[in-house]
Point group: C2
Chain length 316, copies 2
């Protein structure tokens, strides 16, 4: 059942306690939303605890180190930023069919919870947590403010992406006005730094860049051979799918990963108006307009040729 902001606020005011679940492979938005909601509930005297199937990455220590809350037998189960019950990971078994409230901003939300506060126009789950705090009349503390700022910055690429709304900027202004958030440090840690291994990986992978159609299409082919020679695990390539789009004028960027001999996993990204989901559909795959994929079989040369042709048609 979809519920309104005021209904969700009412529910939170009336619950006796809450376990707040964030999604597996946790990011800045679900961590921010979970810990800010914990602060809000505690401010009105509700025992609460944040749980996650996976460990919180070390770079979010500044949000998580205050602690997740002590264990207790909860009456209320809440999920934040979780569009599908599968994203609860191993916590699904315990809590999957018991979620009383889900707070989310993904249009793809499957409606698995008893009540869902869903705003697909919100840039981040943290935007909804902020609105809830206002609706509930609960004053945020500095930690919750940092949580909410981090979530919004995470999901908007620091106010850079399409999904950035007027409201994002308004909330950021309000948080910066009222609290002493070290936002530039948060942003540096989130956007500007990489591990030494990551820097080496990226510079190795960038060397493999190929250019087609006047560089409007860029392609990186990470064959098993080359990855082994460079000492790179193909799993480490996750997150490299955006690298080909770093090239100016590139409209479509492709990362080809060799799964097994003759089988290639294709990640396709669009910088502007080209719909890569449509291109990938013609190749038996699919996805979103700006991020899609498919699986291709054949020789590498053949695979590259088919990709260049399919993208070429779209670029015409």
């Amino acid at each position: 059942m979809l519920i309104s902001l005021s209904e969700a606020a009412e529910f939170l005011k009336n619950c006796s306690d809450a376990v707040i679940i964030t999604h597996q492979s946790p990011d800045g938005d679900c961590i921010g939303a979970g810990f800010a909601l914990k602060d809000i509930l505690e401010a009105i005297g509700k025992r609460s605890r944040v749980v996650c199937a996976d460990e919180f990455p070390k770079r979010f220590d500044f949000l998580t180190s205050a602690g997740c809350g002590e264990e207790f037998e909860p009456e209320t189960i809440i999920t934040v930023d979780i569009a599908d019950v599968q994203l609860m990971g191993k916590l699904r078994e315990l809590y999957g069919d018991k979620v009383q409230l889900c707070i989310d901003h993904h249009v793809s939300n499957t409606g698995y919870a008893q009540r869902t506060l869903l705003d697909p126009h919100a840039s981040a789950a943290c935007e909804l947590i902020y609105e809830l705090s206002q609706e509930m009349g609960v004053e945020l503390n500095e930690h919750a403010a940092a949580c909410i700022y981090t979530g919004i910055a995470t999901d908007t690429g620091c106010f850079k992406f399409d999904c950035t709304t007027v409201r994002c900027h308004e909330i950021a202004a309000e948080l910066m006005r009222s609290f002493d958030i070290n936002f530039s440090k948060i942003n540096r840690n989130m956007f500007d730094v990489k591990s030494i291994g990551r820097i080496k990986l990226e510079s190795a992978v960038l060397e493999l860049m190929e250019y087609y159609w006047d560089s409007r299409l860029t392609m990186i082919c990470a064959t098993a051979d080359i990855m082994e020679k460079m000492g790179v695990d193909t799993d480490d390539l996750d997150g490299c799918a955006n690298l080909p789009l770093q090239v100016e004028n590139a409209e479509v960027g492709i990362l080809i990963k060799e799964r097994e001999p003759g089988v290639y996993k294709i990640s396709m990204r669009s910088a502007n108006d080209i719909n890569v989901s449509e291109i990938c559909q013609t190749l038996g795959g699919g996805g979103h307009a700006k991020a899609a994929g498919c699986l291709l079989r054949g020789s590498l040369d053949d695979v590259k040729k088919r990709l260049a042709e399919a993208v070429g048609k779209a670029l015409e």
Copy 2:
């Protein structure tokens, strides 16, 4: 003479026309400020023209392609984002002693103009242009809105840096609410794309990274030998000074450029609280707290050792 916002607005309302000068090596802020001010003046019937000692970079075509305005013999000379008359470049000779109004946000402004509207707390010159439009009661057009957004995004690293203010976010919210700015495209072009040559240069330079003090100090030594082997002009290294700080945990990053045998130009950057200006002063140089430099002579090993020691002391 320092003047107030309302005095500057009054001056602009009363001038008959204006040549607006942006600084040499123009960036998004001075271009945005120049072209937005031109729109504002034209909206109240004043002939105006934007001029610059250097060509506007191609990636700012979306702001400049509407044209700089026709040539005319101006009665009023205005500079934007120019802290020192030297930054007018070759236009200094013609206009250097005739500037009637300077609109700037650099604390280092030398006061070379007859009137200076200076707000060192403003994140960008474009923030001041926005305030002027409000003070003058002139409605912005979509082009001026894109100009102002671009300037603020440029100087704040897209709302990422320390200098980002509450007002930046408020203005961004207001511009996005009132105008259809393609801000995500602007941001991609400004922050996410590089030329093919630049990508190759960066990945070559990153290979040279050295690590000291548990990676709290990172150093790239671009000797003439290595640069020649990699086919890189040392001039191309400008803008690489921030690369060493990409490493997580790095607090100080150093780029060493070989000027001539035994003479090294040092660029030092700080990620957090270490004051690199103080470190560089102990080595005969200087600069700002987060970006400073010096010139060192001796063998490369000796230079590196002195740098590692000086930074090591500050890290203690």
